[in-house]
Symmetry: C2
Subunit: 190 residues, 2 copies
Amino acid sequence: MEFMEERIRRDGRVAPGEILKVDTFLNHQIDVSLIRQIAKALKEHFGNREITKVVTIEASGIAIASITAEELGVPMVFAKKSKSRNLNSDTYKSRVYSYTHDRYYDIVVNENALNDNDKVLLVDDFLANGQAMQGLLDICRQAGADVAGIGICIEKSFQPGGKALREEGYDVLSMAKIKSLENGTVEFEQ
Amino acid sequence: MEFMEERIRRDGRVAPGEILKVDTFLNHQIDVSLIRQIAKALKEHFGNREITKVVTIEASGIAIASITAEELGVPMVFAKKSKSRNLNSDTYKSRVYSYTHDRYYDIVVNENALNDNDKVLLVDDFLANGQAMQGLLDICRQAGADVAGIGICIEKSFQPGGKALREEGYDVLSMAKIKSLENGTVEFEQ
C-alpha cells in the first residue's frame, strides 16, 4: 500500500542489524489515524469472510487489532506472553522463539476466548521469521478455529516468514513489503 | 458510569484474593464497542483540555488508549515494560512495583515521544494501588509534560491508589469504582 510505504520512507529509521525503527508512529508512539487506514485496508480485503474475531499478540499488535476489530464489528483477543511455566488447564498455549531476544517464550489464550466456531483474522505489526505468527496459528489449531487470513503492517520479505505462510496456503496481506534494509536504506518490493 | 457497572455485573467474575476478572471483555478478549463507549466518556470529560497525547502502559491499556486517542484526534504512546537493566540515554524510565507479581519492573518511554509541550491524558484498565500510574506520572515529570487528567476503566476504591492521586490534585475519572469484592460479590461506590 502506497500510504504505508510513504510513511516508512518519511518516518522510519534503519538501525544496525537490519532493524527498521517505526517507534514514532507504529509501535511505541502510535499514529491512530494511520492504524485506522490499515484497518480499512484489511477490511477491504478480508471483510467478506465472515470473520468472528481479530487475534494478535501483546503488545504492539493490540492497537492494530483493536481498530481492525472495530472496523469488522467483532471482538479482538490478544495472546499474552507468559513468563510462568504453569500449565493452566483452561488455556491454549504455544512456545515461540524470539530471534530479537534469542529466547523462547510462551503465548497463551484462554479457552473461552476462542473455539471451533470462530473464523479468525490474525494481525501483527511485523512479519519477519514468522515465529510469533506460527504460535498464533498453533493456538487457532488447538481451538479448532478457522484462519480466514493474516494482516501485517510491515513484512520483511527478505526473511522467510511470509513465504512460508503463503506456501502453507494462508492469505497474507502486508501493508508494506520490505525487500532489503542493506546500507541503511529501505527498499520495497514492487 | 452505568454502562460499565452493568457490564461488570454481567460478565465480571470475582476470583480469590479480591481479584476481578474482566478478561472476556476488557483485558484479554476485548469488546471494542465498550472501549469506544469508554473513549467517548473520557472525551466528554477531558475533551476541552487541549490534550496532545494519550499515554498508557503495555499491554492492557493499549486498546483503551488507542481508541481514546482517536476520539481526541491525537497520537497515543505506550510505556514499555523493560526487562533489561540497560539505561538508554534517550529514554525516560521509572521503576514500578507490581503487587500482583510481587516484583519491580521498569517502564520506559522514548524521549522523542514526550516533551514539555505535551499535555497528557493518562489511561489504564485498572487502578488499585496506583503504582503503575505513579510510574507514568514520574515519566511525565521527567519529560516536563503537563498531566491534564487520568482516565481509568475500573478503580478498586478499597485500595489507596485513586485517593492518593486525587489528594495530589489529579482529576481522576473512573468508569466504575468498586468499593468491595468481599464474599465474591462486586459492590460499587454510589
